[in-house]
């Protein structure tokens, strides 16, 4: 046991004395949360739009006022002709234009039917859809307002509630994703590199010719990374609570327990990679290509899995980050308890056990 602790201490020296590693370890979660939180957001805020109002009557003015009042949009100057509007689109200075035809109010009152043209810059389709939805809902609101006095025989009003995230903030989506990403990077890549480094520098050769069991060498290398990863989880959660104002809806204890499980999964993956590779570079490449890419693609945090072709959906099941992403979302955002996530937990346990056994089996007590 004394050997084990000495080994762990030595490992901490390695980490603490290597500034680059330290920067990656503790700078990365910080940077990712800030980048995703403030720069790479797909929330709509202050989108520049223009209004082409050929009607200039009561109804059009009222709708324009409501659009201007919402903080999704920032109303540009009035544009009167189409050419200038198109120019603005081409220059990219506006994302959406609302065009009222002449006699808008008249048509509405006398023919019971009027049209508004909504033109969006769909070079970013998601953004365009979101914007047009906002505009449509403002127009719908106005319509409801109008018809309140009229006695319509039948009316269906959809009551929409955005559960767990009523303001449609981006944070609830990316915080669990960033967590999975960072843990993947720290636990898989850093561990794999740290173990392979011993092989590459030849220290493994010396350690093998010692009473210290090789399996313990590997396990004691994993321990410091477990703690470092837990610190990362804590820093991400604290930042999401205090910087992004996203409180943890469920139990903190459960969140950390599940994170620990995922970290252990990642550590076994890292150990597995380290056993199979010989140089730090290869270990890094394998971790990046084999772990990071699937994590980004298949965890569901960037691209919804439901929209993927079936074979890819099947593949996504073996990506541990997918399950962890579901778990964290359930705990942090939906406030669920263990009863709702035991299945995902079980899958993670299975993956961990699998890689642990495979690693043990392929572990070599000699040089190749």
């Amino acid at each position: 046991m004394r050997q084990f602790f000495t080994f762990v201490r030595k490992e901490c020296y390695h980490v603490l004395r290597d500034r680059r590693t330290l920067l990656i370890l503790f700078g990365m979660p910080l940077a990712q949360i800030l980048i995703f939180g403030f720069a790479l957001t797909n929330e709509v805020k202050n989108a520049r739009i223009v209004v082409v109002d050929h009607a200039k009557d009561n109804a059009s003015q009222r709708i324009i006022a409501q659009i201007a009042a919402s903080n999704y949009f920032e109303l540009g100057e009035d544009v009167m002709d189409r050419d200038r509007m198109e120019m603005a689109f081409r220059e990219g200075t506006v994302k959406l234009a609302v065009v009222f035809p002449a006699n808008f109010h008249n048509d509405l009152v006398h023919q019971n039917h009027a049209q508004i043209q909504v033109i969006a810059d769909a070079s970013d389709p998601n953004y365009a859809t979101t914007l047009t939805n906002y505009v449509s809902s403002i127009i719908r609101d106005y319509q409801t307002e109008l018809s309140e006095n009229a006695a319509l025989p039948y009316r269906i009003t959809p009551q929409i509630r955005m559960l767990y995230n009523p303001q449609l903030k981006g944070a609830p989506n990316f915080v669990p994703g960033v967590m999975a990403l960072v843990l993947m990077l720290v636990s898989v890549m850093m561990t794999a590199i740290a173990i392979v480094r011993e092989k590459e520098t030849g220290t493994m050769e010396v350690l093998l010719v010692s009473p210290f069991r090789p399996v313990w060498v590997i396990l004691s290398k994993a321990v410091p990374y477990l703690f470092l990863s837990l610190i990362n989880v804590l820093s991400i959660v604290l930042m999401s609570v205090f910087v992004l104002r996203l409180p943890v809806a469920g139990s903190w204890l459960l969140l950390f327990a599940e994170s620990t499980l995922f970290i252990i999964t990642c550590l076994t993956l890292g150990i597995f990679i380290s056993i199979k590779t010989k140089t730090q570079q290869v270990a890094m490449l394998v971790s990046l290509m084999g772990m990071m890419l699937p994590t980004v693609m298949f965890s569901g945090f960037m691209f919804p899995i439901e929209n993927m072709p079936v074979p890819l959906q099947v593949i996504s099941n073996i990506v541990p980050a997918k399950w962890f992403y579901i778990i964290v979302k359930s705990i942090m955002i939906k406030g669920m308890g263990f009863a709702e996530i035991w299945k995902e937990t079980l899958v993670l346990c299975g993956i961990t056990l699998f890689f642990f056994i495979v690693s043990l089996k392929s572990f070599k007590i000699r040089l190749e």
Partner: protein, 304 residues
């Protein structure tokens, strides 16, 4: 203490024969040298004896234990210093020694007497990181770490490669003192001049042992006389010798040219060589009979 019986080791599925049917044994308390150029198979033998590699054929024992079956015993009782510097470069001297002491289930204090001589030289720098040490210092530190658990047999794979001449000399002095403490030492080196510092040596080439004996024994066994020529224009003299005395073998050896008359023995060979070279226009040369060095013996064995 160490026995090697018909050990064979191949790499790349038999394509490369690194160790070819090698046998030797080392007595307790002996300082045994394995000498040969790069690629002779020295490291492979050391790795087999330290249980890091499995031999393809043959058996070997260290301290009475089989290197394959009892690998755990051997790992507990031998000291091993690999050819490449294999300590933690980002740990200090002190931390490295303490780390290896703990890994080997001992403390620095317990076996301090063993490393005392070496550690005195390292002590002024004990807070310095291993990566910042000179080549000689690194090897001394590595030796300290390999010794810390009082091994019965010490395997040193090319400990003096890349080390300055002064440090090399010091290093061999240390090995001599270890031998006096009763530790069996196996050391490999590509430097032939270090061979005389061993009790016995095995000369190796292409995975085979050419000869095993004491350095003096190997030199004594050198067949025939050997001459040295001191001159300035060495390449042209060797050329002239090759044309005019084709049966002789001559090669540049440091400041000299060594000439092996290959069995031709004549009392007057010194004079004959001088006259021959004078005829070719080489003046101010000095020819003298010499005792061969280990390297001469090695060259002789290779040309046989």
């Amino acid at each position: 203490m160490v026995t090697v019986n018909n050990i064979t080791k191949t790499y790349n599925k038999g394509a490369v024969k690194a160790v070819d049917d090698v046998s030797f044994s080392v007595e307790k308390g002996e300082l045994f040298g394995v000498i040969g150029p790069d690629g002779a198979g020295k490291s492979s033998i050391f790795r087999i004896l330290t249980t890091l590699l499995l031999p393809d054929g043959g058996t070997a024992t260290v301290d009475g234990h089989d290197v394959v079956k009892d690998y755990r015993y051997i790992r507990n009782h031998v000291g091993y210093m690999p050819g490449r510097f294999s300590l933690y470069q980002d740990l200090t001297i002190e931390e490295n020694i303490q780390f290896f002491a703990t890994v080997f289930n001992t403390t620095v204090a317990e076996n301090h007497h063993l490393i005392e001589d070496i550690y005195i030289q390292l002590e002024p720098f004990k807070k310095r990181r291993a990566g910042k040490l000179s080549g000689g210092m690194k090897q001394k530190l590595a030796l300290c770490c390999a010794l810390i658990h009082k091994p019965t047999v010490l395997f040193l794979d090319e400990p003096t490669t890349g080390v300055d001449p002064v440090s090399r000399k010091e290093f061999w002095e240390m090995l001599k003192r270890l031998k006096q403490q009763g530790i069996t030492v196996l050391v490999s080196t590509p430097y032939m001049d270090e061979a005389t510092r061993c009790d016995r040596i095995a000369l190796m080439q292409h995975g085979k042992i050419l000869s095993i004996d004491s350095p003096q024994g190997i030199i004594r066994a050198y067949p025939g006389p050997l001459y040295a020529i001191k001159a300035t224009d060495k390449p042209r003299i060797t050329q002239a010798l090759a044309t005019h005395a084709p049966s002789f073998s001559s090669y540049i050896f440091g400041e000299y040219i060594h000439v092996d008359p290959q069995g031709v023995s004549s009392k007057y060979l010194t004079e004959e060589l001088t006259t021959l070279l004078a005829k070719e226009g080489f003046r101010e040369i000095e020819v003298m009979p010499i005792t061969p060095t280990i390297e001469d013996c090695f060259i002789k064995m290779l040309t046989k």
